[in-house]
Symmetry: C2
């Protein structure tokens, strides 16, 4: 018997109908939302329903030396959860319970498979919410947010994922269960392994539970501003001016002309002024109205055409334009969605670099940015023939342009990925940012958790 | 030549007058503010003035197999920076420059030896501040805050140290320099080694620089509430009620009767009502007055005798009582200052446990708590004969009581240390909280950074 057949037999014996080898399930486990798919297909998808299922799967994987790729909802954008030839796809999507909500301690304990939006719907009656707010929140899991560090639109005001997780329960490659972190606001007992797991993309263990730090729902009104500018550089300068003014919007999103035009077309809205870029800004909390007025004044001085609404529903309608970016890009072709982040004052310079890359490589790169925190999502659009699983790989000239763009972000003091993770798509640039010494140190740390190298091999750290 | 003499000769050859072997310097390097001192004395204190000095010291340490204990201002409370027989005490206190302040990006780059208070004084003209606010802020260094995770009074509203550091520059045991983290709000490129270093107490490397996440000074008034209660349990219940009400004070400090009496005596104030405990609460920001009124109402319902001030100076006077706790304890004898943290709803139960420990062990344990975040500082007071360096070690019956108290905190879902660190004083309880598997994993991770085990050996991880 091959190693894969051996592992499959053991999985079936121990986990019965949790083990799924239907061709469509195996095919689906090869891909995420990145446009990339793994070579070949996994030997099985294990639909874990409990911590014990995860432990059993990993014990079998260790015994047989079989790689394991953990998956949630498969909405990742870097290929980090794609399972390929000879691998076990371990789905924790079915582990979606809320185990505890402690309003007095502002914490909840959840399983990893719960959807971000479902969690917040369940917390709402308590007057609570969990801040991470990726654009995919309706379809992405909390475990996936933790695995990648996907923070979303609210990070400048309400923090990144690392600020919103107190502890995680982690199953190691050999099946042992560790409880990392604490249930207290403060805790410095030993090394902070919780933070190490956040953003580790399945390379250190399988997150089977998380103790989340909650916030109270923000009282008061929500004000929304939409401001258009003649071009993207002026919009970027305006967003940097808002940050520099000391205002703290909850959301500040920038859409360039190509993005705005694509979304307007998708939603059958009147086409925007050619070349115009837009900022969409929300303020909240007790000083929302005063902050919105101050921000509007900054935007007008910066040359913006400003509309301000105090109506929550109107605000959601304005933000829906931003939230339609992903389907709008899909309407143009296949999109490679990138994720560089720069210091906020460098946003105008980064848009200059994107314009340069567009010129020099002869492509269009529609870009949206979480301008409040400096995280940009440039979209490389391309066409091509789908493979047998419907996946169209990005061609080499797109990667050459992306390479140019990554290096520009690093030169501006930025980072390769603000929230999507490294996965397979950015692993070849990882050492460029970390340096060879840190790259090797990180890899050795991963080996402490996973001595056989069976956890998501080939992801993050290129082999 | 012995290993120590060999190392000393090399240090002198390479670092000249940075190498200090004056008896009083060696004696001072044995101790911190914990009341504990190392056995024997170090071979030298190296006063590093640059990253290159630190690298050179570590290269010599690696070559000669000599342990290195990094020190800042020596204000630690767990013995983590105490240097003993055969060790090099590496002081980074002299590396105290601010290298960059970027108001538009809300970040600063600093050297580790700068005092917390000096940093905030320098940031004030920019309208900025760095949130970590340990009670020792006037005399403790930013590097020490990072090494221990010392957060202080403002953590519930303004976050812990981990939330306030974007990156650190770290010299490894072999002298290599790594730049960890990023300058952006968001960044998930590779494993989060910055967070791993925060609270690692000198066991992973030497922090020689830090990129700090700043906040803007909070506009609006500051309101201060002092509320007295007949006993500490009712004060604790009141603080839990404030948290449960949804109010978010910037500061909420609880002092029990013994603490209050000692501080009043030290400051020559009228003695407080016997048995009375006190909450001191500050609100800030645009809604400070409304929040203070709401909190005052909660406190009155909880049985408090409430005074509310809108005057900043009066507020500082009220808080000065809390900030005098440490000298007040020193006036009573030698104090072992403990640091357990519990979920906020468990504060009343934790005070019950402290009362039980006092009864069963026949001692008094004056206790203050950062009630807003659930972090308690029980003070074990004792007398004894100082050793040759003036240090009085805690006697065994005090450790027995502390052991009882630690286990109570763990039973209530708490943690051994909220902000002081493990050092030498709590290392024997570390595995009780982490479990043996996690303890061993953490130790292996430390070994990846420090294969020879020369960085602060015997600290955190008991050998």
């Amino acid at each position: 018997m091959t190693r894969g057949a051996d592992a499959l037999a053991l999985l079936r014996a121990e986990l019965g109908d949790r083990v799924d080898t239907a061709p469509e399930s195996l095919a689906a486990a090869r891909a995420d939302k990145s446009g990339h798919a793994a070579s070949g297909q996994p030997i099985a998808v294990v639909h874990a329903r409990s911590v014990a299922d995860v432990q059993q799967t990993l014990r079998i994987a260790t015994r047989t030396g079989t790689p394991v790729v953990t998956r949630g909802a498969g909405t990742g954008l870097a290929g980090g959860a794609n399972a390929g030839q000879g691998e076990i796809a371990l789905s924790v999507r079915g582990m979606d319970r809320i185990l505890e909500v402690r309003p007095d301690d502002l914490l909840a304990v959840v399983e990893p498979g719960i959807l971000n939006a479902d969690l917040n719907a369940a917390l709402e009656p308590y007057g609570l919410w969990w801040a991470p707010d990726p654009a995919s929140r309706a379809i992405s899991t909390v475990g996936g947010n933790i695995a990648t560090g996907a923070g979303g639109l609210l990070c400048a005001k309400y923090g990144v994922v690392r600020d919103a997780v107190l502890g995680v329960d982690l199953v190691l490659a050999d099946g042992r269960l560790l409880q990392l972190g604490h249930r207290t606001v403060k805790g410095v007992t030993g090394l902070d392994l919780t933070s190490l797991v956040i953003g580790s993309e399945g390379t250190l263990g399988v997150v089977v539970g998380a103790t989340l730090k909650l916030r109270r729902l923000v009282p008061g009104e929500v004000c929304t501003i939409a401001a258009t500018f003649p071009d993207v550089r002026r919009a970027a300068e305006a967003s940097a001016a808002v940050t520099a003014s000391g205002a703290q919007p909850a959301i500040m999103e920038l859409m360039d002309a190509a993005s705005l035009a694509a979304v307007h077309a998708l939603l059958s809205l009147d086409p925007p002024t050619p070349g115009a870029a837009q900022l969409t800004i929300q303020t909240d909390g007790p000083a929302a109205a005063a902050e919105a007025d101050a921000i509007a004044a900054v935007l007008r001085i910066a040359g913006g055409n400003v509309a301000l609404s105090h109506d929550r529903a109107e605000g959601e309608r304005l933000l829906a334009i931003r939230r339609s970016m992903h389907p709008a890009m899909e309407s143009l072709g296949t999109a490679l969605i990138e994720d560089v982040s720069v210091p906020r004052s460098a946003l105008p310079a980064m848009f200059d670099e994107i314009a340069r890359v567009e010129r020099e490589h002869g492509i269009v790169i529609p870009t949206v940015a979480h301008a409040g925190d400096g995280n940009l999502h440039p979209n490389f659009i391309f066409a091509g023939e789908p493979d047998e699983f419907g996946v169209i790989e990005a061609p080499e000239h797109v990667w050459a342009a992306a390479d140019d763009l990554f290096r520009a972000a690093l030169r501006l003091g930025g980072t390769l990925t603000g929230e999507h993770g490294v996965g397979v798509l950015k692993r070849r640039w990882l050492a460029d940012e970390l340096g060879d010494d840190q790259w090797e140190l990180q890899r050795q740390i991963a080996r402490v958790f996973d001595p056989l190298g069976i956890l998501n091999p080939g992801k993050v750290f290129a082999t």
